[in-house]
Amino acid sequence: MSKLLIVDDEADVREFAANFFRKRKIDVITASSGEEAIEIIEKQKPDLLLLDIKMGGIDGVETLRRVKQKDRDLKVIMVTGRKPEEDAFEACRRLGALDYIHKPLELDELEQVVLKELS
């Protein structure tokens, strides 16, 4: 079974997204911060990261940078606000993020983007 790591500092988002993908037969783990995500990745080796850009502590861009330093091939999809800051957007592209999903998002789109990378 594919393993998805959801990184978001909002508990409601983590809970909902985790349930959403578990129902689609995906093994889901969650992290509430970038720091926690980095720890989890070392131990649990997820196949895909769903990473929120705007977080307290180290943000999504910085998390992406550190994660990619350790494992260049780890797949990461960024979750951004409706109007992400151009800088952050550009940074993620350079750091090798696969895709972006804008909040508020269509659940369809969320499903497709994630399933495509995990199949």
Partner: protein
């Protein structure tokens, strides 16, 4: 326990009249549904004009079934939106609610047009993703404002017709309330916009007068700020409580008080030596010339008093009408003090600027003679506080 739906509806309608903020209202409704109807969760997607999409604004229920507010959206091409928004589907639906089980059966039983089949299947898929079993649309006129999404009932049962009717009635009340709140907000913005346009036009006009009179550059904007500061001081002292309208009128009067100078030859306005009788007579016409220019605009009636009487003196020796004391409208008395103060502290064709301290002495001396004492003392206090 059975719910008295009629009463709940009446209660809801009453609350809606009291609440003007759509957000608060929607939260209230969803909370009420989750509590009274005992559904696992409930949410509302609402059309947001600026984003041109429907966003899940409120969602309540236990963690995990609740979708975080602002997380999910439905675009105009989402089947669950299309089925409620597009007339060709609305007609076929024939009922205001879309119920998951019934729709599934309907799709199994009948021969259905392919496009309808597609859209219904798409809508059912959306319902699965949002974990809703009943969707109720909210319309205002022909526009879909939002959709109420209901989860399964806690006891696992189906909604009966009475419950569905209740939701439909509730959704239509919600639509009306949301629409009212939005219209109210739009109206406020519109009024604000018109008002800004008006003030900006006035400022432009004032700048035109300023440009004509070389020595009074920026005089008008300084007089206006000073007049507003005096009004502020008067209300701080609790001697006067001004309505917002008065302050606006004062601002306009400040900007336009010399508009009548448009009709006076520049040779007279900028003359270096003293004026002869004829020239003095012409200058003294400017308040009435100003009134002539502005009187066609009824909204300016009160400001017009400031334009007309800003050269009246408290002791009755001013012009154009020789009004005395309390006969002089306060708006004019304020402009008069601000105008004189600013004229004295700046260079004029016939003399150099005077030091502020000296001007304040003069204002104090003229209090009760040229100036309304209350207004003069407000100006003196502003000077003492180093605010001017």
């Amino acid at each position: 326990m059975a719910i008295d739906y009629k009463r709940e509806l009446e209660n809801a309608a009453k609350s809606m009249i009291l609440v003007h903020k759509p957000d608060t209202l929607i939260k209230m409704i969803v909370r009420m549904i989750v509590q009274k109807v005992e559904v696992r969760h409930a949410g509302i997607v609402l059309y947001l004009k600026d984003k041109n999409t429907y966003v899940l604004t409120v969602s309540r229920g236990p963690t995990g079934t609740k979708i975080p507010a602002g997380f999910a959206r439905m675009d105009n091409d989402n089947p669950l939106i299309r089925i409620f928004a597009e007339n060709k589907y609305r007609r076929i639906l024939n009922s205001n609610a879309l119920v998951y089980g019934e729709t599934k059966n309907f799709l199994r039983r009948k021969k259905i047009r392919p496009d309808l089949k597609n859209i219904l299947n798409g809508a059912l898929r959306q319902m699965e993703m949002f974990e809703t079993v009943t969707c109720i649309p909210s319309y205002f006129r022909n526009d879909l404002l939002g959709v109420l999404l209901l989860g399964v009932k806690k006891n696992g049962g189906k909604f009966n017709q009475k419950e569905l009717d209740f939701f439909v009635a509730l959704a239509s009340d919600v639509a009306m309330a949301i629409r009212n709140a939005q219209l109210f907000r739009e109206l406020e913005l519109e009024i604000d916009k018109t008002h800004r346009l008006f003030i900006n036009t006035t400022i432009t006009l004032a700048a035109a007068i300023d440009a004509k009179d070389h020595y009074t550059r920026n005089h008008i904007s300084r007089v206006t700020s000073l007049a507003l500061a005096i009004a502020d001081k008067l209300s701080q002292r609790n001697e006067r409580v001004f309505e917002k309208k008065f302050i606006e009128n004062l601002q306009i009067a400040g900007l336009l008080h010399d508009i009548g100078k448009i009709g006076i030859p520049e040779a007279i306005l900028n003359k270096r030596g003293s004026l002869n009788d004829e020239e003095r007579r012409i200058i003294k016409e400017h308040p009435n010339v100003g009134v002539g220019i502005l009187k066609t605009i009824p909204e300016l009636n009160e400001s017009l008093l400031g334009v007309k009487y800003h050269h009246e003196k408290f002791d009755g020796t001013g012009y154009p009408d020789g009004l005395k004391g309390g006969q002089i409208p306060l708006i004019a008395a304020i402009i008069s003090v601000a105008d004189t103060f600013d004229a004295m502290i700046t260079d004029r064709p016939y003399r150099k600027a005077l030091p502020k301290a000296k001007v304040i002495d003069e204002i104090r001396r003229e209090s009760g003679k040229q100036f309304n004492p209350e207004v003069a003392s407000a100006l003196i206090e502003l000077y003492r506080e180093k605010k001017i």
